[in-house]
Amino acid sequence: MNGKLTAELSLPLRRSHAGRQMLHNRAMMLGMSLLGIIVLLALFGPIIVPNDPLTVQMGDRLLSPSWQYPLGTDHLGRCIFTRLVIGAQLTLGISAIVIVTVIVLGVPLGLISGYIGGRFDSIIMRLVDGMGALPEFIFAIAFAGFLGPSLPNLIFAIVLVKWIGYARVVRSVALSEREKEYVLAAKVAGCSTWTILRRHLLPQMISPVVVLAALDIGKIIMIISMLSYLGLGAQPPTPEWGAMLNDGRPYFQSAPQLMIYPGLAIMAIVIACNLLGEGLREALDVRSR
């Protein structure tokens, strides 16, 4: 009752909140369409691209856009458009693998850590604290550098950095849920710990994890591109966006399109993921933890 009255006291605030939500939903639609286009391009890329992404044509170096090369050619005469589209496959594929691995790893560990606690929880928490001391990106560079430059190592390094965040979110939800009456009731009903985790707690994790993942894809793509740019990820001649940026660097003055197009592509996908994630967060009413 009182909630109603006090909520009404803060009416102007709530109205702007509702307005923001609508905006967010419109933004979410934009993000979704953008991401959809990129995914479609990646899926049907091999059919639509006009050229081969790897064929070197030294005679066609650094050409301006034309019918044959929609976005021009790079310093080795390869079609930039083709390389971008094929690169999208690679970028999206790697991030999908990373996200799935990270969820499969982080969610169960977070659940066990939060619900059962004990020594296991202390170990997880120490890891979380330790990793929190420096930005993720620094750790990713360190791991990738230590493991040596290659795509599998890149994936491994990013997973190593990222699972912690998921474990932490899931752990905090589990911690707050485990004292709730439905969990206690399940315990009294004779459910084993495993059943409680699987049947009662896991479903509660879906929305926060989905939101976190949607917001994270952008970051993961950034890390992949940045590591590749630094030469720690995809190796030439693989058409990865970050690696393409790196390739274009010496020609930036004379042929900026070599860096502009991959840069725009990275920007577009990161923005799309963030819009989608923010929208989902609003829609699923998940508070940032």
Binding site: M1, N2, K4, L5, E8
Partner: protein
């Protein structure tokens, strides 16, 4: 409140004078008169009625308890009186007369002037009555000084006086932060904070629901004694008929947006007619 404020008179004395003076006024409009109030809610362009023509009157110094369960419309009615209805609600018909004037005709700014000064309110959630990280005393002091020309020191004297009136260790509570007080203490401090402005009407929305039985009783005791002293009218909102029937002079039982029974507390208790009232009275066992 058209009256001459003597700077030497304390709040308490002023209240007593006013109270004593009241019988001399020949014909006085009731403090609150709600007639045929209809409230609706807008949902996707459709209008759905929530309150269907509710009428009641609260004279000076009396308590009317508006009793009903969740969804009965009692809180919406209270928020309409306060002028704090949410944007999706609207009043389609009826009048809310405050001391004779229909406040629904007033501009928003004028109605805002009523709140606090003329219409005080306390909520179920006592934690929301005070800002968390400012001492209770400072908040009371500022409220007082925003309504009356007082120095900081004068305001403190008044605030302490009112805290004492609600049976609290005044000095200690004055310098306490809200989280340092128990629920019952905070609610009593909230009553002091509302009553010190000497409103003509106090709206108490489920003031004891979040409290323990014994502290809830104390809160209602304090409310009753301050009401006696200041002569303010009280609109008491509650879901528990048994709890308020000994505290109010008149009871209005609400169900699904209608007042199903309106009578003196005594009649409600011993000769109620409506089946629903009966059901509410017998909702919990009696001690035998």
């Amino acid at each position: 409140m058209p009256q001459i404020m003597d700077k030497e008179t304390t709040h308490m004395e002023k209240a007593q004078q006013e109270n004593a003076a009241s019988p001399l006024v020949a014909v006085e409009a009731p403090v609150l008169e709600v007639s045929q109030l209809q409230i609706f809610t807008r949902q996707e362009k459709q209008q759905r009625p929530l309150v269907h023509g509710v009428s009641f009157v609260i004279p000076r110094g009396e308590t009317l308890a508006l009793v009903g369960e969740s969804g009965s419309g009692k809180s919406v009615t209270a928020s309409a009186v306060l002028g704090l209805m949410s944007g999706s609600l609207g009043i389609s018909n009826g009048e809310i007369r405050f001391r004779g004037d229909n406040v629904l005709d007033w501009p928003n700014k004028k109605r805002r002037g009523l709140r606090g000064r003329e219409i005080g309110f306390i909520f179920q959630n006592y934690q929301e009555s005070f800002t968390p990280f400012i001492t209770v005393g400072k908040q009371m002091n500022e409220t007082l000084r925003s309504h009356e020309k007082l120095t900081r020191r004068q305001a403190k004297v008044h605030a302490l006086e009112w805290l004492e009136q609600v049976g609290l260790p005044a000095e200690r509570v004055y310098s306490s932060y809200p989280f340092q007080l128990s629920g019952g203490q905070l609610q009593r401090a909230a009553i002091a904070g509302a009553m010190m402005l000497q409103p003509s009407l106090l709206i108490a929305d489920e003031p004891t629901t979040a409290l323990d039985v014994l502290s809830g009783e104390k809160v209602l005791d304090v409310l009753a004694s301050l009401q006696k002293r200041t002569g303010c009218a009280v609109l008491l909102i509650s879901h528990d008929l048994r709890h308020v029937v000994k505290r109010a002079s008149t009871i209005a039982v609400m169900k699904d947006g209608h007042i199903v029974e309106l009578d003196t507390a005594e009649h409600i208790l011993y000769h109620c007619h409506h089946e629903y009232t009966q059901q509410l009275l017998n909702a919990r066992p009696y001690i035998t």
